[in-house]
């Protein structure tokens, strides 16, 4: 390595990842050491300074072996996923590579297809999910799916319907679920409308529109909180009613963390506002 694009710390952390690299710095899935190094170096200033991401409970994620990070979508573009991946890389010692399940349309787009794969982010197929978990990888899942990224600003603390497939796959592969809450994405990308027609022209499901036009994220402080791991025993072939009960437990855990985070953020905002008003009144 030693590339000017790669930070010293990223370089060191890449070496600490427990990934079986082949002779060309590529793992059996095509994840590339070089691409990860450049990718994390580019994300690092966003993670540390622009969004100054606060991470709580990173120790709840197992240091090695299979695990499924399950959380809420927050922000119309993939900053939530990118920052969760960054938090596992920068805030965990030794670092871990979180591997997301990407929307299918991405694999049809030139460059997006290539880069997601080289960064370990594969198309969301059950086959990929099972294989990566059986290979003791750390998976990142957003059970709200595209329904969740389409949340508007006023819906930013809401959870939409969860898919149930993730619980079945976790049970089938005997994988602990680590629920997480992501806060601030809705304020960073304050979506007022989702432009479906524009999205279709670009090959994506929609493009989020903000009061200032393009979905460029604002420098809002983001937070990720990881909760206690949850283990559901069974084969994964249980009746829907059983599975839905487990999904609800995960959803409740995430909703609780979001609510506590919202209170924390709003009281912080109130205090800041009071201080600001007090300051301007005394002038």
């Amino acid at each position: 390595m030693g590339s000017p694009l790669v930070s010293r710390e990223v370089e060191r952390r890449i070496e600490e990842l427990e990934i079986p690299w082949g002779p060309f710095g590529v793992d059996p899935y095509g994840v590339s050491k070089k691409h990860l190094a450049v990718g994390f170096s580019m994300v690092e200033p966003l993670y540390r300074h622009y969004f100054s991401v606060k991470v709580l409970g990173a120790d709840n994620v197992p240091p090695r072996g299979r695990g499924m990070l399950v959380g809420n979508h927050s922000g119309g573009i993939a900053i939530d996923g990118a920052m969760v991946i960054a938090s596992m890389f920068f805030a965990k010692n030794p670092p871990r590579l979180a591997q997301g399940m990407v929307e299918k349309f991405m694999n049809r787009m030139p460059f997006a297809s290539m880069l997601t794969g080289k960064l370990g982010q594969f198309t969301g197929l059950p086959e990929h999910c099972i294989r990566l978990l059986e290979d003791e990888r750390l998976l990142m899942v957003f059970p709200e799916g595209a329904r969740g990224t389409a949340k508007l600003y006023r819906e930013r603390y809401n959870l939409v319907r969860f898919g149930t497939g993730f619980v079945r796959l976790a049970m089938r592969t005997r994988t602990p679920i680590i629920p997480f809450a992501f806060l601030g994405g809705g304020a960073a990308v304050p979506t007022i409308h989702n432009a479906v027609a524009l999205g279709r022209m670009l090959g994506a499901p929609y493009v989020p529109i903000t009061p200032y036009g393009l979905p460029v994220p604002l420098p809002v402080k983001l937070e990720v909180e990881y909760g206690e791991p949850m283990m559901f025993h069974g084969t994964g072939a249980e009746a829907d009613t059983v599975i839905e009960g487990y999904v609800e437990q995960v959803r409740t855990s995430i909703a609780g963390m979001i609510e506590r985070g919202r209170v924390r953020r709003e009281s912080f905002a109130d205090q800041t506002l009071k201080q600001f008003r007090a300051g301007s009144a005394s002038r």
Partner: protein, 309 residues
Amino acid sequence: MKILIPGIAGATGRIVAMRLLEAGHEIVGFDRRSWPDAPDGVEMHRGDIRSRPAEDLFRTHQPEAVVHMATVTHLVARSEDRYRINLGGTRAVFEHSRRYGVKHVIFVGRHTYYGAGPESPLYHTEDEPPMAVTSFPELSDLVAADLYAGSALWRMPDMTTTVLRMVYTLGPTGHGTLASFLRGPRVPTILGFDPLYQFMHETDVARAIEAVLRVRVRGVYNVAGPPPVPLAQLVRATGRSTLPMPDFAFRYALGRFGMPRLPAAALNHVKYPVVIDDRAFRRATGYQHEVTEDQAMREYREAFPVLES
């Protein structure tokens, strides 16, 4: 044991024959092509597998095993020939084998059976359906031959049938789909895509077939060598350089400017990977590949160097 090899005169067929000969087997070869310098100990016959002389060979030699390697791809034959050779030929091999008491038939097929596409998973397992039929219609005769061979498992239960789905070969013979694709100094790729390619050295193909003959395992198996390599890396390591073109330009250039005349569906195989899981085969036979990805690429590069202009 006496082994009949239809398709022996192909580059891989020869290597398989030599290895089996060295292992002490008696080899009878059959092919439309000749093998002029075939070693002593290989009894060569020329002709069409669906002809009467081919049936005579089964009758007079009574081979114990048949390694069926006489299938062709769209790269070397027109469609009507392909159907005749791949389906008619495979049918003849299985019917003669049953009639004349062959104990074990090995069908050497291809991993492209699974097809390449944006929604196809990495690491296909044997239980997956053949997506190549829809994504790449020019492969449908090979897919049909694979499934037909597999049907012998229940149609001809007294005989052991093994269907192998093998990855591309790469090595000093320079034969095969991948080796041909890499032949020129500039290898056309599609801008913004860099799929994994999985290949095995020709001697590992022979090693895998020898392992199947030894344990006489029945069923359908994926067979691979070392872990897959990204196309751009593969091109560099074989001493070539990539010529990335946008999708539409690649499509337009096919059959022009010295580019091979590939069907448009072949594009998916340059954009998306076909990667297989061969753990079941390794467990069943004890096979292990010996040639690394690095060595296979180096041997190809040394056998087919790019001449500096």
